[in-house]
Amino acid sequence: MPRIDRKSALSLALAALAASAVVYSAPSAAAPDWREALLASAPVADPGDIPKDSSLWDAHQNGKLVYGGSKTQKLFSIENPITGKLEGFDATMALLLAKYVTGKPSVEVKIVTSATREALLNNKTVQAVFYTYSITPERQNKVDFAGPYLISGQSIAVRSDNDTIHKLEDLANRKVCVTKGGTAYLTMTKRVPSAQLITLDSSTECEATLRQGRVDAEVQDRPVLLGQVKAGGLKLVGDTLTYEPYGIGLPHNSPAEVAFVDNWLKLLIKDGIWQKVFDNTLGQVPGAGTGRIATPPTPGQDLLPDLKLN
């Protein structure tokens, strides 16, 4: 029997304390009911329409859609640790696509990063990518895009008491936070190279550094910033800096699939489903319900972004 000394007793007490936190449970948040209803009434494709020999046909055969996404993107695809389900605009669109292709909204998410998403798409590890994936000509050389399914753009957020930053040029020589692998990083390095950048993993981490005073500004997609501003203490400055259409990543050289998914998107927009998804995710953020982002895009057109890098 090992000798129980003071340190072991302390560690056992700590463990017991942690365990006792499980004793009473807070009521778990209900899964979004709007989503259940929406998915129940979502369209399902005629199997004859699905392009054979494509990754979506594989999804149809397997009865579930395997897609590359994220679990940590606020408002777009974030895991609710209490329910274990993914919530957000991208996550819901993926569920809708799964229902369309397989008849039921069953998905499997593989976490991708900016480094891996093209490769995983092209070697069929994932059948599609929903990752706030901005369409760029460079990326179009590696994968195909369906959509756009959302028009976004970058903006600048600062602390409420900041009076010195009003537009992008004011960020010269200031400390700015951006996320790794995003288009904001490109914007800052190309247009304001003198800014001192801090690159972190996620927008929430950038928000934390902004609130704590480590950085003077954050450059990020506008809807995400609007969500952060909602909690108070921050404000948006300047106009939307770029025009960035988000697309659904599909394997390279698969025009039939692109056309198929574009048709589905047009169907969603026509039936008002796109609007319902928007209203219940991004639309919940005050200020996001107006402007370019709130208008349904035209899939198949306006594919190229304008990052204003020159």
Binding site: P2, S8, K71, P81, I82, S202
Partner: protein, 277 residues
């Protein structure tokens, strides 16, 4: 009083000395308490102690999520530990071999990988290997990176402990007719393992801490789960603190177990050697 020369240096304190020590103790305790209060106060003022920030941990589903993450952490550490042990033992034996080419090859590998950060090896497996066709699952990438760097550390530990075994053991076994490989395998290696036990458990603690690198590749271990929870609640720091506490408890328990194992082994060893007399 421990057996340290510093302790033996001082004369036992007389009454004035004892009073001085007691006074100093009270001052130190007061200072520490004041510092702790200041930290907590500041933390609370900035909203860190709000109920909202911690309430997510009351949900049993979240506790289950942490439990799954703990399992993933331990699983990765154990597999990497096992592989590193096997590979490390092979390396140690290679370094003690009679053949010079084996010795230098193993020595070169060990010296290089000992100085490399595990993070660098991990980035290599996720960014470069896929270009040459080697795309491992996330779990495999983490285990591979951990194995590569930890095997060399284990090999050094084992080599040192095997070298510390009295030379007479090897001579005796050779003179009894055992071939050199057999002598190592049956006589030297087991004793080396026994002597290296505390260091090997320390290596396991190091591995457990190393699994946090899974954060980078979204392997759902404890630290990544802290990020998941923090992203949802917006309170990143709180979830990291909780997870840090879990690591602390886990590793302290592991260290105590290691001390216990060491005591049991030394007792058994002493009993065996006295039986042999």
């Amino acid at each position: 009083m421990t057996n340290s020369p510093i302790d033996r240096m001082f004369d036992p304190p007389g009454p004035r000395g004892r009073r001085a020590i007691r006074l100093a103790s009270i001052v130190v305790i007061a200072l520490l308490a004041g510092l702790a209060w200041l930290v907590l106060y500041r933390f609370g003022k900035s909203g860190g102690l709000d109920r909202q920030a911690w309430s997510i941990f009351e949900s049993p589903n979240v506790i289950k999520l942490l439990g799954r993450a703990l399992y993933a952490t331990v699983r990765a550490a154990l597999l990497a530990g096992l592989l590193a042990l096997v590979w490390g033992t092979a390396l140690a034996l290679m370094r003690l071999s009679r053949h010079r080419w084996l010795r230098t090859a193993a020595a070169a590998y060990v010296e290089v990988t000992r100085s490399l950060p595990t993070l660098l090896v991990l980035y290599f497996t996720i960014l470069v290997l896929p270009f040459y066709g080697l795309r491992l699952p996330i779990y495999g990438q983490l285990v591979l990176a951990l194995t590569i760097t930890n095997a060399s550390m284990i090999s050094e530990v084992l080599r040192a402990s095997m070298l510390s075994i009295p030379a007479g053991q090897l001579e005796a076994s050779l003179s009894l007719g055992l071939t050199r490989p057999r002598a190592f395998w049956y006589i030297i290696l087991p004793q080396g393992f026994r002597a290296a036990m505390p260091a090997l458990v320390a290596q396991l603690v190091y591995l457990l801490k190393g699994t946090t690198l899974g954060y980078v590749i979204s392997y759902e271990e404890l630290l990544y789960s802290a990020k998941l929870i923090g992203e949802y609640t917006n309170f990143i720091l709180q979830s990291i603190l909780v997870v840090t506490a879990v690591y602390l408890v886990l590793n302290i328990i592991l260290s105590r177990v290691s001390i216990w194992i060491e005591q049991r082994l030394s007792l058994r060893g002493a009993a065996a050697s006295s039986k042999g007399k």
